[in-house]
């Protein structure tokens, strides 16, 4: 790529020094919580909400909002990184581990991937290996309060070890698949897996 003109005096955003080793390459730390969206914010009321796991499973299962809230839940504190370069440290969530949810279904022998799908039509794909063993959860509280619609409420997926576009807002279900099915951003130039520590932002990275 040709040398780019550098603008005198423009610093961009700079990360904090002390936390440098917690910040993936190319990221800066933010204290606020930017809202990014590909569409209008859904506002699904609890009495119309459900969460479903289907696809390559022995039998599909679904929970109503009340049933979901009755599942064993825990608090999580994790760092999150968005592909648009902000990283937020020590975010506090409450939710249900994906391990807990998978405990309610029997995965098919061919099951290797999933598609997380949301109100509003958003999808993202993940290998099952990236959401088990405590790596992912479905959160419904952020920072001690119910998760706001702007940040993905009533419930969103949180997969902190990958770029945050994988943490589907307004999640309504997980479809288990035997083949990898690239989702909304993965089909338009973004990396299929999205590991921030390897800077896997775009396909080909």
């Amino acid at each position: 790529m040709a040398g780019r003109f550098v603008t005198r005096g423009f610093m961009g955003r700079r990360g904090a020094g002390a936390e440098a080793d917690r910040i993936p390459p190319g990221q800066y730390v933010t204290r606020d919580f930017p809202v990014l969206s590909a569409g209008p914010t859904p506002h699904t009321p609890p009495d119309r909400w459900s969460f479903r796991i289907d696809g390559a499973v022995a039998a599909p299962v679904s929970w109503t909002w009340d049933q979901f809230l009755a599942l064993p839940a825990r608090d999580f504190t994790v760092d999150i990184s968005c592909v648009t370069k902000w990283t937020k440290l020590d975010t506090h969530w409450t939710g249900v581990s994906v391990d807990e949810l998978f405990g309610a279904v029997e995965l098919g022998r061919e099951a290797a991937y999933l598609v997380a799908w949301s109100d509003g039509g958003y999808t993202t794909n993940l290998p099952i290996a990236d959401v088990v063993n405590g790596q992912a959860f479905v959160a419904y509280r952020y920072d001690g309060s119910p998760l706001e619609p702007a940040h993905g409420g009533p419930a969103r997926l949180v997969v902190p070890h990958l770029y945050f576009w994988k943490s589907a807002k307004w999640i309504r279900g997980i479809q288990i698949t035997d083949r990898d099915e690239p989702g909304f951003w993965e089909t338009l130039g973004y990396h299929n897996r999205g590991d921030p520590w390897k800077e896997e932002r775009y396909s080909g990275d």
């Binding site: 003109f5 603008t7 005096g9 423009f10 961009g12 370069k85």
Partner: protein, 246 residues
Amino acid sequence: MVNPLAWQLAELRAIRDETPETKSFTFDLPSWMPHLAGQHYDIRLTADDGYEAERSYSVASPPERIGEIELTVERIDDGEVSPFLHDVARVGDRIELRGPIGGYFVWRASEGGPLLLVAGGSGIVPLMAMLRHRNAAGSTVPTVLVYSSRTRELMIYADELDDLVAGGDGLTVVQTLTRSQPPGWSGYTRRIDRDLLAEVLPRVGEHARAYVCGPTLLVEAAADALVGLGLVSSQVRTERFGPTGR
């Protein structure tokens, strides 16, 4: 033939304070081409680590001002480019620009009128380009500008608008000051709404070409109101600047 897609290295020639929140920046362009009133330029800033920020700013100057462009920029606190322009940039700096860009929200004097211009906050900028072009081209089409600002101090181009009106060439400016007004103020004090537009519309009629620019909510309210008052929707052109007006 200049390619508006191509970045060029502009030189910042002048900075002028307009209001406590806005400044106008004059750029000398190596490859200037006449723009259309309403078009904008993109500015790109690059830090030494490769970090980039890019934003669009409407051209405030008319195409009759040859060789240079003036951009009027409101300082947004958590912005990336406007704080740089306001706080760091100085005359003589070279900054990457490209343009002119846009083809929908534009007006040429040759298209005639009447014109109904509706602005909120910094949405006045592209409309000011239209008024300056109208003036430079000697146009006398009946024109009404409805301009909403929070206070008189935050109103951009106030003196120049007074001068244009005083020129008596068919321009009327209707101001509304929504947060506070100077003593003796007898004008509007509320947000632009259907009733306000209904009172103003007879000066130009429902066959006027309307251009509405500013914060998204203001633009949508005004555009909906104008269509409700009888303007054909294709005659109501809109440009949304986001919550605060960019």
